[in-house]
Amino acid sequence: MVVRSYNDELKYLEKINDHCWRIKKGFQPNMNVEGCFYVNRRLEQLMLEELKNSCRPGAVGGFLPGVKQIANVAALPGIVGRSIGLPDIHSGYGFAIGNMAAFDMDNPLSIVSPGGVGFDINCGVRLLRTNLYEKDVQPVKEQLAQSLFDHIPVGVGSKGIIPMNARDLEEALEMGMDWSLREGYVWAEDKEHCEEYGRMLNADPAKVSMRAKKRGLPQLGTLGAGNHYAEIQVVDEIYDKWSASKMGIEEKGQVVVMIHSGSRGFGHQVATDALVQMEKAMKRDKIETNDRQLACARINSVEGQDYLKAMAAAANFAWVNRSSMTFLTRQAFAKMFNTTPDDLDMHVIYDVSHNIAKVENHMVDGKERKLLVHRKGSTRAFPPHHPLIPVDYQLTGQPVLVGGTMGTCSYVLTGTEQGMKETFGSTCHGAGRALSRAKSRRNLDYKEVLDKLEQSGIAIRVASPKLVMEEAPESYKDVTDVVDTCHAAGISKKCIKMRPIAVIKG
């Protein structure tokens, strides 16, 4: 790796406009394309400070700074366009979280990398609407939070309460949300409002290790720990009235439920297994990368194909997982308000994946090309009239669900034409970490964090309170900064802002 002083490093970075920086070739060795990242002034400081810290003599260990990771991804074989960092970017395994990159499917050298998807495959956000308003929920929010907590299994090592055997799991891995539909856990309309209609067709459970299945089976239908949560939120602000009304959001104060979860231990095991296989494939095919963590295989190699099929199965796992929790949430609400989920109008507004690789067609240099788009900590944001978005959102553009940090706020954005052109239809996914987990544990006290939430009127139920400071708002970038940057850069458009009134967490 090249060692340069901070000032020398800055020569490779160029501010194109108020919200976008270019990373020139040469910043890291062998860059095939340029990189770029979207920031506003505050996020820009965080970004550059991270780079500056890594340039200090003797700075070793830990992850590379986000900018360096973007540039390393730009050096991967077969990448097209640019390696793109979204405003919520922070260092991750190989790829930074908040990095998207597209690879040409027709180039035999193009690669697929598990690091570009992340360990929590198809981690994503689902938003349910209700016809309740804040005044209906405020008096009973403690009971409601408890009721949710009593219905949804949460926390490290939690087990699902939907009976499943090994055969059910095999079917669920292959069918995704269609399994949940068949078994009656979700509504037909839920499938319609889900990315990929809740099922990746190339999933092959035979490509998934026994170990992954063993880990996954008991965890299906659980929220998990870490940054995952279920939140009862109220609409705080509507920026785009027409699009909001298309999503069934009519007024401020309307109550919605956000579920943020992924494929649990199953996805983690699939990714771990693939990394082992890919290291071998890299040696065999002589694939060179700047970072050992960027283990990858050619898309058309056996390892590449096996990973894509197993990843699709893990994606299906995650959709079944979120669907099961949708079912449990509806039950909790129905019990609380003594009515049916139908009467509460508890429809899924949308379900997004922000850790996934998908085959999509995009325009590159004026030509339509088939690409493998890696989105790690990045949400798909397709513009109006794109054939892959539900018919109900053809006029508004795809809803993009951006979950904030515990106790702050969340957003719904919509996809734009400009995003399609600039970022292969991708935008941010959340707040993005500012402090590492270890650092948050050292610097913050969990009691203070919980007190603060209580003071702001948020009912909270946590399975393991001692880990709560990892997820404290102080550990994250400001989601509003992130969302405003995406809006100002035009890669997605602000539609709705929500604030939480009750949180349940792992």
Binding site: E183, D240, P384, V391, Q394, G397
Partner: protein, 247 residues
């Protein structure tokens, strides 16, 4: 279409015909008068030749339009379309015999032979002669009463009539509750068609809405199918003994 017509008349450079420029427009008009229309005697055309001095030309053009008995038309394109049409009519009248072999009766089957045959089969199972004069007249009258715009192919028009009847007049449509809620103003959506060309924008939006409507019908149909299958297969259960909830 205009380009095709000009090409048919033998206009020398229709491929790079740009009508943004009044001067180009003037030279096309002049060419048509010179070659095809010949409304004026050669020496009287001098005033129209003043293409370089566009202001003087405009006066001559006004008079020319009046002499051609052109109805008052709004845009430059409409006027040109009318003049070209006039030129074609004159060209045809010069020697109608030459075009005898090309007429609509023979061209029609050539253009959409397969299509219309299929359509004929589909309508009434081929039991009725859909090219019967009375039938055609019936379709035209029906279309007139329902305010369906004219189409040269009466079968296409019949399809439109069927759609109107299905959507508005069928028993199912009549019993349907009127749609409530706030209408979505389709000209205010996030979708962009064209910033500059309003003439393109509106029809595109309407076409897209129609497409969305048919997609919606398809999706509703799919959902209904899923629900009917669910009635057979669904049996959701939970068992709280399996895991731990509510600490």
């Amino acid at each position: 279409m205009l380009k095709k017509k000009l090409e048919a008349l033998g206009y020398p450079t229709p491929s790079d015909m740009a009508l943004s420029n009044r001067k180009d427009f003037a030279s096309i008009v002049l060419w048509l008068e010179d070659q095809k229309i010949r409304q004026y005697a050669i020496e009287d055309r001098v005033i129209l030749r003043n293409v370089e001095n566009i202001e003087m030309w405009e006066d001559a053009y006004q008079k020319y339009c009046a002499d051609l008995n052109m109805p008052s038309l709004g845009t430059q394109n409409e006027q040109l379309a009318w003049i070209v049409g006039h030129a074609i009519r004159l060209e045809f009248l010069d020697d109608p015999a030459q075009y005898e072999s090309i007429n609509s009766k023979q061209m029609q089957p050539k253009i959409n032979n397969k299509q219309s045959q299929k359509k004929e089969q589909m309508i009434f199972d081929g039991q009725i002669n859909v090219n019967d004069k009375e039938f055609i007249a019936g379709v035209r009258t029906l279309a007139g009463q329902l305010n369906v715009p004219h189409h040269p192919n009466h079968l296409v028009q019949l399809e439109a009539v069927a759609r109107v009847v299905h959507e508005r007049l069928s028993p199912a449509a009549r019993g349907r509750q009127p749609i409530v809620g706030t209408p979505f103003p389709f000209d205010k959506g996030n979708d962009v068609v064209s910033d500059s060309d309003a003439a393109l924008d509106l029809p595109m939006r309407i076409l897209r809405l129609l497409q969305i409507q048919s997609l919606r019908q398809l999706q509703t149909h799919i959902n209904e199918t899923i629900v009917s299958v669910q009635n057979l297969t669904a049996n959701p259960k939970t068992d709280t003994k399996l895991g731990k909830v509510g600490f």
